[in-house]
């Protein structure tokens, strides 16, 4: 028998219940028009994922429940699986409503609540414990589960199949990090193979603060073979015909939907299987989508970027142009007495290649004013680092003034290596609404710049920007490697310390230079207060600086 399943990979906005509802209805209509028997939406699709502490407002729960009933009322024969927040007295549950023919027919409640990394589900939800039920669609028993449930080895999928499920649909709010899509496919393939059951996996797309959801919804058949895959990072209604093997006997679910209508004939064209992307392509696209959605969902059309002629601001400008269009990106070069000639010319060449607006504002008058104003206080002293920070903050001032006056969001250009060791000026180069590459270690910034230049057509990024030694240009002849070890040494240590929960001693035990490790890890610890005041930005690793790394500022551990 044929079962036509649609996976609706949508881009909700957290909290925008009415707008999300309209999206759901529209996709439902598409699925019905395409004679689908089931259409599955992602986890908490009515509220968007993750709604965080909006869930603590009782009226927010009321409002999304009203939206669910509104949605259910417009359903027809096609069976919709919709993520929402269920409430029983004061207890909330992360739930899926199975709706058809104008009604909510059944509710499944998530059993495994992730409470690690960026997830706080035990803050809000009570786990589902009710007996499992199958849903009959054209008589075929279908089981539903939600996200984390299927990552647990003896999760409800096992019991659902034991009850007689012949198809499993899992709805997800699964944020991207590098290679997450292949991890998901490996897992689901294993589940399908072990249980001999086809599985449909649907995920949301789009950016939500620091998270970006990559979609990549897919279906595997009962041998674990991939039979459909939606694109990464874009909205899509993935429709696939699943061949359900004939059986001598078949359980009859209590909840029987669509039993009187025959399933559609198998389509002549196979479902789409979009190619997977390379790691760097994925990363770049995640940064573009995260930036675009943060701007769009917060009402900003334009951004402004301080262009230093360095590699970081260059990559951010390229991403911004891909996210928003060249006409919405504004560059500002802000030379000082210590800027090299090539800084300005490199920035100008980049702006020309990207075809973006660019202006030059020297910071010299403000810098000179501060030196005079502070002279009585600094009487007789020879400030070094202080003047470096003052210059950086003059630049921050200019960017913020342009932002205030023209409504352009400032994009912050710092990378993860700098953020880790505190090699930035708080309220200076760290100002901004969104820190596009905050989760990229410096070496990865170079990789993505090379990726940009490998695209067909002329090289966008001037060669000199990629090959010159990195420098903050805040004093004569400054270079990053005067203050920091080479990034080839720094980045692997940072990865171990920040992303993999190693201690300094662990890293030394792995053979790294003890003095270097002690110095770097200490720098990371004492920069925590600065990072805490930094803008959000796209998370692309398994542990970004953000809500997946909750270390104390006041921290006596060495």
């Amino acid at each position: 028998m044929n079962l036509r399943l649609a996976l609706a990979q949508l881009n909700p906005t957290v909290g925008a219940i009415s707008a999300n509802l309209e999206q759901l209805k529209s996709a439902y209509q598409d699925a019905e028009n395409r004679q689908c028997s089931i259409v599955a939406f992602s986890e908490l699709s009515i509220t968007g994922y993750p709604p965080e502490d909006l869930l603590l407002k009782p009226r927010f729960i009321d409002d999304q429940l009203a939206a669910l009933h509104d949605f259910a009322a417009v359903t027809g024969n096609c069976v919709a699986i919709v993520g929402f927040v269920d409430r029983n007295e004061e207890n909330l549950r992360n739930a899926a409503a199975i709706c058809s023919n104008g009604q909510i027919q059944h509710i499944y409640r998530k059993r495994s609540l992730p409470n690690y990394s960026v997830f706080d589900e035990k803050r809000y939800f009570t786990p589902g414990i009710e007996p499992l039920e199958l849903i009959g669609v054209h008589g075929i028993p279908v089981g539903v589960s939600i996200c984390e449930d299927i990552w647990i080895d003896d999760g409800p999928h096992v019991d659902l199949v034991n009850l007689g499920a012949e198809v499993i649909v899992t709805i997800n709010g699964s944020p991207y990090h590098l290679d997450k899509d292949s991890q998901r496919e490996t897992l689901i393939t294993r589940r399908a193979t072990e249980l001999h059951v086809p599985i449909g996996y649907v995920n949301q797309v789009g950016g939500q603060d620091e998270l970006v959801f990559d979609g990549g919804s897919f279906v595997v058949d009962d041998s674990g073979q991939l039979i459909a895959r939606a694109p990464l990072f874009t909205q899509s209604l993935l429709v696939v015909d699943i061949d359900i093997a004939d059986r001598d006997s078949r359980v009859t679910p209590n909840i029987s939907l669509n039993s009187s209508t025959p399933p559609p004939q198998r389509a002549s064209n196979p479902a789409e299987i979009v190619d997977s992307m390379s790691g760097d392509d994925e990363l770049y696209e995640a940064l573009v989508v995260g930036t675009r959605d943060y701007c769009r969902k917060n009402g900003f059309s334009d951004v402004v970027i301080g262009l230093s002629g360095g590699i970081d601001s260059t990559l951010v400008a390229c991403i911004a142009v891909d996210a928003l269009g060249a006409e919405h990106v504004h560059g500002v070069a802000m030379p000082s007495r210590y800027s090299s000639d090539h800084s300005l010319s490199d920035a100008e060449a980049l702006a020309k290649n990207l075809d973006i607006d660019m202006r030059t504002i020297s910071i010299e008058p403000a810098f000179a004013a501060y030196m005079d104003m502070l002279d009585p206080s600094f009487d007789g002293r020879q400030p070094g680092l202080t003047w470096e920070n003052v210059q950086s903050r003059c630049r921050g001032q200019i960017l913020m003034a342009l932002s205030n006056e023209f409504g352009w969001m400032v994009l912050t250009t710092g990378n993860k290596s700098e953020a880790a060791v505190g090699y930035f000026t708080i309220y200076g180069d760290s100002v901004g609404g969104y820190a596009v590459i905050k989760d990229l270690l410096k070496l990865k910034v170079y990789d993505l710049c090379r990726l940009v230049n490998e695209r067909p057509g002329d090289e966008v990024i001037p060669h000199n920007i990629i090959v010159k030694p990195p420098s903050a240009e805040l004093r004569p002849d400054q270079r990053d490697d005067q203050s920091l070890p080479p990034y080839e040494v720094l980045d692997p240590i940072l990865s171990l310390y920040v992303e993999h929960d190693r201690t300094a001693q662990d890293i030394i035990d792995e053979g790294h230079d003890p003095e270097m490790v002690s110095r770097i890890t200490r720098l990371v610890d004492i920069a925590e207060y600065k990072r805490r005041q930094s803008p959000p930005g796209v998370r692309v690793t398994e542990k970004a600086f953000g809500k997946d790394r909750r270390v104390p500022i006041t921290n006596g551990y060495r």
Copy 2:
């Protein structure tokens, strides 16, 4: 029979395992010298509470386990109850070790793990499920539980008493908010009365990032009568003799400690019962301790404060002087073309009364420089708010330059009302390491200023500062009430929306002006990105802006 119980109310530093261990050993020695039968330390006393994501580093767990064994090795007859992190394979448990005679004699594992408000314990810990055991001390059966356990109506205290416990000791890491101490005493009194058992409650003291722990350890007897209370906010070893009623029969715990030594004779002097404090006194002290510990534990001796002559910076200066001493507090007045005469004279009078260092640095040269620098970009426009923000950021620049050069931490002076509606300049008046009064609504700022002036001796705060209308002085004749409703109207709405999870519609339904409520709640929502980049500060309410309020920035809910 007499049982002498010591409650060791200490001030640990999170992560500083060696230093915390030394404190534990020293307090243990005191308790032994005073012939105590039991000494109880607070929850996770070896690591300090809360250790947050340090718990994810396996070696951190190793290190604190080694410290526990080191501590146990020095114990003698006196039975110590010590909070630590227990590990079983990969699972961590929030645990209490019962130690004496050089050994760990028993381990109790916390059963109820708070995962709401500022608490994330389910992120780290697995709940304890082992059968409960009593500890015999001089033959008296004693039960132990940890913090949240005793807040649950049918928690382990009930089972412990049913097993035969004649004393309950609960160890806690319970952060302060207004009136929390009386809530705890009310609860524990009820438990003691219901179960007819004396209860000892021990809590840590001191600041840890945004949290301040108020101590206030106490003991109630088996009729619920308070028989001992330690001071709020200061370290203390509270020693009390508990009269254990004779019984015909008594259970014999499996774990029998101190059975051969007789309990000490009842002391002739009763234990101390420190007076409780008024609400405003408590609040003020919490702010002092939070500020002092944030500075001290992060290695800062001195602070610098922008003194505007307004009520907020005035209160922060008073708190700073009480926290660190007048010689460690530096004031800076930063007048502009829009400053009133009284701003400077009020700030000077305050600095004189507080006997603190003060300097005046006009922001005019830098402000004028920015106006020139931005003139070509603002060609023909009449910037309003932008110039206001530029002035505020000039002040931020000066404070940060002084901080960078002299190592003074900047104390931020914004209050909760301003933070809520975004009535501050990001990277301007919000710069700093610690935002002392970020959790005080504006009306409460006035209350605490009056409290300061009610102290014996001369009035510290010049009268004019308290009575003049609030103004940011960023344009001619500016007053807060041109942009905001009066604080008497604003603060109650903010409390409902921010602290009590009401929606705009809820607040309108309660009778507030619909247009006003819509405008204010919208201001709160769109200021989230600014607050996210603000410094930490003392939490004194049940819901501060911080980790107890995790709302999305990108938020379509109206």
